[in-house]
Every structure is written in structure tokens, then in C-alpha cells.
């Protein structure tokens, strides 16, 4: 079976990156700002300097962790038809962007601070759109107590989708326990949640080579509950990683290996997704440069490293918003992203984001979903067999004739050749004003018509009570 994928690093280059990562872990180590996690690593064979909070991880420990990290597992959904099996096949799963702090108001167009209601409504729209395979908690609920916003966002999102939910905000081990409690409530208990993880989480190291206390202690809690972890390295070449493509890949690879070691130390066999959102910095402003071609090269290289380890990965994006209203984005971004989606990633993130991922726009999610629906066909499986090559048909048609009436054409045309939905293509090809109006109209219509698989009222109240109790403990 043929599938189009970008290739970048050869075997020798991958080996060098792996060896340099091992050297980093053994000689330089990673900073883990948590005594309990350092103790855990020490028990597993790491050399720990508690004053500097540095753990040096021996190659043997890294290899053992790669061994126990599962190569195949599923991110499960309330509705099993939305379960996501890894490795993904034939194309990656696409999800929404996350943790945006602003939203383009669907009705007024105002670009403003996001609320819990926006998070809920955006989740409903993502639930309605078929090309969105699962959801990140996309918007920050700025109208709830700041230290409880993660559980609020998870709860609002879970209530508005029957697809898998990946949480992107957690601030402490206790926060993690509350999120697990909420997910377990929906799954039907902690064992049921472990068997069918309805949620997973993004857990970011701080590049270079550091793990912040709240996030890493939360990661350990999640791993112990069987919640899949995405160790999202956000290495920025030139600022938080070496400026070179190879240096940035190696830094992100090292952080992922360290994170896998921590997950496996907490709970051997707990699922882990190798993850990166790495890019060079903009050399003039110091901001992250999402438009750099090197970002795509970094993604392709990291996808190859993850594949080498056999660990499912999330290393690339799909999302075309660059303003605060729906748009198809500049051609350069489109070209770069399309190459990126053909990396060996199992997951693509970024749908619906605008303003360098600081904002979310409902209409943009419609645009991104439509583009993804078209683009992913480029990555479908193609059968290369004698039957499909069709020499019999060639002989039958003969020289200088046509295949229009050939049985071979009729047999395979629907299966082989993508026919894009003309109404979607027309919308995406329209002028900017039409794209905005039409994408927003479709979003509004979907929100009006779509029915989410509803929670029982009791369940909602129990979840609300879990969050209220947590807020009470924090306030005390």
C-alpha cells in the first residue's frame, strides 16, 4: 500500500540525533523542579543532584522506558465511533488549537477575552464538524477563578462533545486529580477510565531541558491514572534551543525522551505521545515563527524520530488563520503546512486558531476543517497492484483511444480520484469578505442544528460539585 509522506533525515542522521540526545540526558541531564519526581527518577536509576534539581538519565533507563511505552493504544471517546487508534492510518487525526485567551465573537466580530461559555460553544462546533477528529480544550475560561480554569475548561468541553478531549491546562498535582475525577465520572469510574481514556493531556517541558513543578507532578498523577500524556516540547530555535534545525530537533527529541522516562517511571506501560510544537524564533522580533519553512523540517524530522522509537506522535499542525477573522491565510503558510501534514505525525493540531494561536475563531474552524478534508486525501492509501495498473484495460483500449468507457475506469474512479465538494471549494476560493461571511454563517447554522450526545443532569451536577469543592479548597 502506498502512502505519500515527506522524508528528511537519513538513518545516519537519525542515529546522530538519538546519540546526542542520550549524551545530553546522561551528561547534562534535565532539570526537574520537583523533589518527589526527582526521587522517583533516582529510584529508577537516575543520578540526581537535589540542590540543582538535575537528574541525569542513563541510556539504560531511557531504553527501558522506550520499551515499556506502548506502541499501540487508543484515545477513546464517549461515543466509541470517535475512538482514535494509534498508530493513525491512513492519515493523521486532526484536532483543534488550545489554550487561546481570546475569541472572535461569532455574533459581533469583536476580538475579546474568552469565557467558559465560549469554550463550551466552540466544543459544540468542533463536535459538529466531521474533519475534526477530537478536541483540545481550546479556550481559556477567563471568567472563572484562575487556578481552577483547567477543570472548568475540561468540564465545559466534555459536556459539548462525544469525541475525545485533550486537556491543555493543568497547574498542579491536585488540579490533575480533579481533572481525572471529572473524566472518571463520565467514564464510569477510575478503572473504566483507565480502560477507555476519554481524556488525554498536553504536558509541556520548559525548553531547554527543564520541567516545572506543577506540570510535572500533574504528569505523574495523570500517568498513574492511565491518562495518555503528550510531552509537548516547545523548543524555539535561537532562544530556547540551538538555532539550527538539527539542534532544535535534538533538543525537542531529548525533552520527549526525558518526559517518556518520567511517565514510565510513574506507571510503566502508561501511554505517551511524542509531541512537539517547535519552531525557530523570528530573528527580528524574537517571536515564534510559525511561518518558517524550518518549522516544517523540524516537524518532519521529529516525526521520523518518533517513528524510529515506535511511539505515536503529534509533531505538526493544520490551521490557516493569521488574522482574527476567518481566512485561508497566505499561500506561503498553506504550502508550508501542507508539507508538514505529510510528516509522519499521528496527530495534527491547530484548527480554529488565529493570531499565532493566541485566539480562536469559530469561522476559522470551519475553514480549517474544510481545507483539511481536501488536503488529507493527498495522504490516503493508494493500492499499487497489477489490477489497479490495469494492463488489461490498456490492451483493450489500444493506441490513441480513451479510457472513458473502460470497465477499469468505472470500477476504480470513485475509489481512486478525489472529487472535492464544489460548495466547499467555492467558499474557500472566494474573496476574503465572502469567506468571513460564509464561514461564520456555517458556524452559526451548525451550532443551531447540531445535537451533542447529552450528559445526564445528575452527572453535570456531580461534576459541577467536584469543581466547586476544588475551588473551595483553593480558597481555604
Amino acid at each position: 500500500m502506498a502512502r505519500a509522506r515527506m522524508t528528511f533525515l537519513n538513518e545516519q542522521e537519525q542515529t546522530l540525533i538519538h546519540e546526542q540526545s542520550i549524551k545530553t540526558l546522561e551528561k547534562i541531564g534535565v532539570q526537574v523542579q520537583s523533589r518527589s519526581v526527582l526521587e522517583l527518577l533516582e529510584q529508577k536509576g537516575a543520578a540526581v543532584d537535589y540542590d540543582a534539581m538535575i537528574a541525569k538519565l542513563p541510556e539504560k533507563l531511557v531504553n527501558a522506558s522506550l520499551e515499556t511505552a506502548p506502541k499501540e493504544f487508543s484515545l477513546c471517546a464517549r461515543d466509541p465511533k470517535h475512538d482514535l487508534k494509534f498508530p493513525s492510518y491512513p492519515y493523521p487525526y486532526a484536532t483543534t488549537s488550545g489554550l487561546a485567551v481570546k475569541v472572535t465573537d461569532l455574533r459581533t466580530g469583536e476580538y475579546r477575552a474568552s469565557t467558559r461559555k465560549d469554550a463550551a460553544e466552540f466544543a459544540k462546533l468542533a463536535d459538529a464538524l466531521n474533519p475534526v477528529d477530537f478536541l483540545w480544550t481550546s479556550l481559556t475560561a477567563t471568567d472563572v477563578p484562575a487556578f481552577a480554569h483547567g477543570p472548568h475548561e475540561l468540564w465545559a468541553t466534555m459536556q459539548n462533545t462525544s469525541k475525545h478531549v485533550q486537556g491543555v491546562t493543568v497547574q498542579s498535582a491536585e488540579d490533575a486529580r480533579v481533572q481525572v475525577e471529572l473524566a472518571a465520572l463520565v467514564a464510569g469510574g477510575s478503572d473504566a477510565l483507565r480502560a477507555r481514556p476519554l481524556m488525554s493531556v498536553i504536558s509541556c517541558p520548559i525548553a531547554p531541558l527543564s520541567f516545572e513543578r506543577g506540570a510535572i507532578e500533574a504528569q505523574v498523577e495523570f500517568a498513574r491514572a492511565g491518562i495518555p500524556i503528550c510531552s509537548m516540547s516547545m523548543s524555539m530555535g535561537g532562544i530556547t534551543a540551538p538555532v539550527t534545525v538539527a539542534g532544535t530537533i535534538t533538543n525537542a527529541n531529548t525533552e520527549n525522551l526525558a518526559s517518556i522516562v518520567i511517565t514510565q517511571a510513574a506507571c510503566p506501560g502508561s501511554p505517551h505521545i511524542y509531541t512537539s510544537e517547535s519552531a525557530p524564533m523570528d530573528m527580528q522580533t524574537g517571536a515564534i515563527n510559525y511561518s518558517a519553512p524550518e518549522k516544517t523540517l523540524i516537524a518532519i524530522g521529529l516525526g521520523e524520530m518518533a517513528n524510529r522509537y515506535g511511539i505515536p506522535c503529534l509533531v505538526s499542525d493544520i490551521g490557516f488563520g493569521d488574522e482574527t477573522h476567518p481566512n485561508v491565510g497566505p499561500f506561503s503558510d498553506l504550502a508550508i503546512q501542507i508539507m508538514g501534514v505529510a510528516s509522519r505525525t499521528d496527530i495534527l493540531t491547530g484548527m480554529g486558531c488565529v493570531d499565532s494561536a493566541k485566539g480562536i475563531c469559530f469561522g476559522q474552524l470551519v475553514v480549517d476543517a474544510y481545507i483539511w478534508e481536501c488536503v488529507r486525501e493527498f495522504m490516503k492509501e493508494v493500492h499499487v497492484t497489477e489490477e489497479r495498473i490495469g494492463l488489461d484495460a490498456v490492451a483493450e483500449v489500444g493506441h490513441a483511444h480513451h479510457f472513458l468507457k473502460s470497465k477499469h475506469t468505472r470500477r476504480f474512479m470513485r475509489d481512486e480520484i478525489t472529487q472535492w465538494d464544489p460548495s466547499k471549494v467555492e467558499m474557500l476560493s472566494s474573496d476574503a469578505k465572502t469567506v468571513i461571511a460564509e464561514a461564520n454563517r456555517i458556524a452559526e447554522q451548525l451550532l443551531k442544528d447540531h445535537q451533542v450526545l447529552a450528559f445526564d443532569e445528575d452527572l453535570i451536577q456531580q461534576g459541577d460539585e467536584i469543581i466547586r469543592a476544588y475551588e473551595g479548597r483553593l480558597a481555604a
Binding site: 477575552a113 484562575a146 480554569h149 535561537g238 532562544i239 530573528m283 527580528q284 522580533t285 524574537g286 493566541k358
Partner: protein, 229 residues
Amino acid sequence: MAANDIYEEIMQCIADGDEDWARELAQKGLDEGVSPLDLIENGFTPALRAVGERWDTGSIFLPEMILSADAMKAAVRVLQPALQEAGGGAHDMKTCVVGTVKGDIHDIGKSIVGALVEASGLAVIDLGTNVETELFVNAVRERGSCVIGLSALLTTTMVEMKIVLDELAKAGLRNQVRVAVGGAPVTQAFADEIGADGYAEDGMSAMHLIQELAAGLDPAPGESMSKVA
């Protein structure tokens, strides 16, 4: 060596962002009897300005700009004792205090702004990250009139910016300072809401904003080059 020769070398060493060379040249200038103020006014400051102009036009990159600013800082440290001895009060320099607010450990954005502001000719005091509110207040008490640049990268820590402003007001210091705010979740609307004097989206605009805010400050009595951190 004639003063002009050393100024040419300073121009080159700041362009190269070479800290060691900058220290050497500062010492060499003093040894040859050039006044510390002349070295700054005719040597290091124009050299850094030239680097800033090249950055504005996109011909050099941010890391080069920061290295140049660091080289300037290294030179000023060498010149500091001589400046104090010479009664550096004649060379007034506006001050900018930068820091990431309490509860927030993000360092890079604030440090870039600090380096750029310093390169633009202000004295910079970097209080670091996770800065207790009282440290900002104390800095204003010690330095007098200044610009404060507050950074926050989390929605959970943005609120600390308002607390800093409130505490400055309670201490009766609000009219002595101009407060600029920035960081990924911060917006102009938020800056307006908490009563900050300005908001900037990136390092470059933060530098220009702080320059503008500093220009509007009354010179603090006794503010001098000797107060460079």
C-alpha cells in the same frame, strides 16, 4: 592612541557584540586619559545606536542586538567607578525597571525588552522573574522617577499587574512612574482596564514605548549614570 581611534574600535567592538573587547577598550580609554563621559557619549552610545539602526532596517538579527547591548553593559561597568569619582550626576540617564510579576517564571520576553531598552540608552534594572510586588515599589522608592516594564505570560498572573499598580498608588508613588505592560495574554484593553500607561505587543514596540514613556518623565533628582545596575 588618539580618542578618534578608540571610538572607531568601540564602534567595531559593539557591532561585534564582544564583551571582553568592550571591557578592554573601556579600561584602555581610561588609562589613556579619555574621560568616562566622553567614552560613553562619543563612543559606546553612538556605537549602540548604529547597531540599533541596522536592526531597525533588518540587516542584523535580535541575538546580535542583544550581544551588542551586553557589550555596552560590560563597558559601562568598567567605567562606573570613574564616573562616580567624576560626579556622574552631570550625565543624567532615565531608568527602566523590568520584571515578571509574582507567580510567573517566564524570563525571556522580559529579558529581551530589558536588553533592547538598555540598548536604546536607558539604565535598566532587571528584578528578574516571580517578583514580589513590594520589590517594584521599593525600586521606585530607591530610584525615584522611572518607567516600570511589567511582564506576565499567564492568564493567572496578569492580575498581579493591577496589584503592582495599586500598591504603587497606595505608596504615593504612582505619579513618579510610567508603567508599561506586556506578555502573550496581555492586551491594550487589559492595559487600559488596569490603568497602565502603555502596552506593547513585542520587544521592538516595547522598546519604543518605554523610550516614549521615559521621555515624558521628570528627571529624578540625582539620577545618574552611576545607577546603572
